[in-house]
Symmetry: C2
Subunit: 342 residues, 2 copies
């Protein structure tokens, strides 16, 4: 990196599934961290945690304690973000918020750096997108640039950790309980998740879609700058631990062949074409977990839209590209002097 000046970085919500990955990604990508501060609720304050930056002590969140911090990465609830993010930004920090609190405000950028990095420049409050959307737009954007998107239909296969560390723990604990002869229960999820699928993520909207489903429509449009894109999602929780999968059908403006799509996607940053049926190679949660790239495969001509359409399957780690990685990538875009070198 050309710019070696270290920055002070705070992670707020540092004990959650996304917060922990934010710290890991900062280290792994050699973000120039001069000082790292980890914040969480009073419950976790004074707790010591092991991180790639050494042992750290969790501090209770107080806005005053973040004065002078260059970058604040927030992995907190929408309500908490609403209450504090604008003040932290006003205080001078660049705030990157992983909640949905600001994603739909026209003046606040919603950024996936491979697509609209420039939208972040000059802003000090930036929204990080919904996990399912961030994974989806990675293949959609290069396909749009090459062939033009008309319609997008998505069915998701979302992992338990999309509901946070508690979600992952519930699936593991209840599965162990089942193995011991017990009954599978639920607290985090609306229904027992082990050996089940639940077509219900986030709250229902008046139009019958869940908020998770509408996020895919709203956020895909905003990130790609396609306000009239026809996009629809069925969001389904499945008993996987990590990495969301998505079955996607697109209609395109121009004709597209699977091979032309593969060529475009092979050249796309952050995308990995994993598409060799003969060797049983296709995107799967077990292979995409822990990876930065979004896997794309099962690419074939749509039987519904013909030569102007494709069916494909993609899979990405929703804690990484769907959350922590994307947030750190946004911060990288805002390291002055670094953008040109990237």
């Amino acid at each position: 990196m050309n710019d070696v000046r270290g920055r002070t970085v705070a992670v707020v919500g540092a004990t959650g599934a996304v917060g922990i990955e934010m710290v890991n990604v900062l280290h792994d990508r050699r973000f120039p961290v001069a000082e790292l501060k980890l914040f969480a609720s009073a419950r976790s304050a004074s707790k010591k945690v092991q991180t790639p930056f050494g042992e750290k002590t969790i501090e209770e969140f107080r806005p005053e304690a973040l004065k002078g911090i260059d970058f604040v990465l927030m992995a907190v609830s929408g309500d908490f973000a609403k209450a504090h993010a604008p003040a932290l930004a006003k205080q001078g920090s660049i705030v990157i918020d992983n909640s949905s609190a600001f994603r739909y405000e026209p003046e606040i950028p919603l950024v996936v750096p491979e697509i609209n990095a420039s939208a972040a420049i000059g802003h000090n409050l930036i929204a990080n997108p919904n996990c399912t959307t961030a994974i989806l737009v990675m293949p959609l954007w290069p396909l749009h640039q090459a062939f033009g998107l008309k319609r997008v239909i998505v069915s998701s296969y979302q992992a338990a950790s999309g509901a946070g560390a508690e979600g992952m723990a519930e699936l593991e604990d209840e599965t162990r309980k089942w193995a011991g002869g017990g009954k599978i229960g639920n607290k985090v999820f609306a229904h027992p998740l082990a050996f089940n699928v639940i077509p219900h993520i986030d709250v229902f909207q008046p139009n019958g879609y869940t908020k998770e489903e509408m996020k895919v429509t709203w956020e895909s449009r905003k990130i790609m700058g396609l306000p009239d894109l026809k996009a629809s999602c069925t969001a389904v929780r499945v008993p996987t631990l990590r990495a969301h999968a998505e079955a996607v059908t697109i209609e395109t403006e121009k004709p597209v062949t699977p091979e032309a799509a593969r060529e475009i996607l092979r050249a796309a940053p952050g995308v990995k074409v994993v598409d060799d049926p003969a060797s049983k190679t296709y995107p799967m949660p077990v292979s995409a977990s822990g990876k930065y790239d979004v896997e794309v495969g099962r690419i074939r001509e749509s039987l519904v839209f013909g030569p102007n359409g494709l069916d494909f399957f993609c899979c990405g780690d929703q804690l990484l590209k769907g959350a922590a990685l994307n947030a750190v990538q946004i911060a990288e875009c805002l390291l002055p002097g670094l953008r040109k070198a990237a």
Copy 2:
């Protein structure tokens, strides 16, 4: 039932997941069974099994042993069915075959009784459809009659038992192994299934679709008599034990509202509208397992096709409506004198 004359019935493949359910369904629906004979491979011959008809001894399959049998329900491989079903039919039995061996032969009817019962009349070899398709067409057909189908896009969430009793056993055994600290393995499935999803069911075709996916297209067209229907599926194995779920998007000829669709579906035989998001009520594998009806819910206007389209989610027990129940229903259609009384 008006016609009380009992029939002789044979189940071939009686020790498999589907064969066992065929026996249960025959009893549960009070099919007029005068004599029940259970056949399987030499490996299971002489084995005694408990059934609702009392203890039965499995016989090794020999065509001669089925002479004079009125109804033969086959739950065997395509190759086995090809080798024996035509001869059994020629011998005088009515043969209902659950394999894909005969489904695409123009002169052999492929039947879902709620849709095309009359196609079975006069035939003595009838094909039982693919499980995912049988579940799908249950809501599609009444919607087609009311609003006209133009396009159908399906993503499936298919249970381990779709791969037979061994598939279900592998998921259970490997999950228990994981709970005991072991590594999740696979033999039946292409990859480990516990905590994973696998976008690969049956063999790949030259067009990039799997045979399972093409079955949905081919069989939906044949059962509903819509040879030009544009239909596409992504078939995905998920770590559930029983009951397939499907996320479905349709485009219709006529405008359709979710409420009009619900009204049509409420009146449709074999369909249960399970659609009350406010009380977290929607189709799920855990609720659809063991049930005859296909659950349909999450019915909403398509964001992609507007007032001429719907998104919905359905779930059905693939061992019942997807296999054993449908086969017994076909046999019921062919009990002379019974059709009028049904």
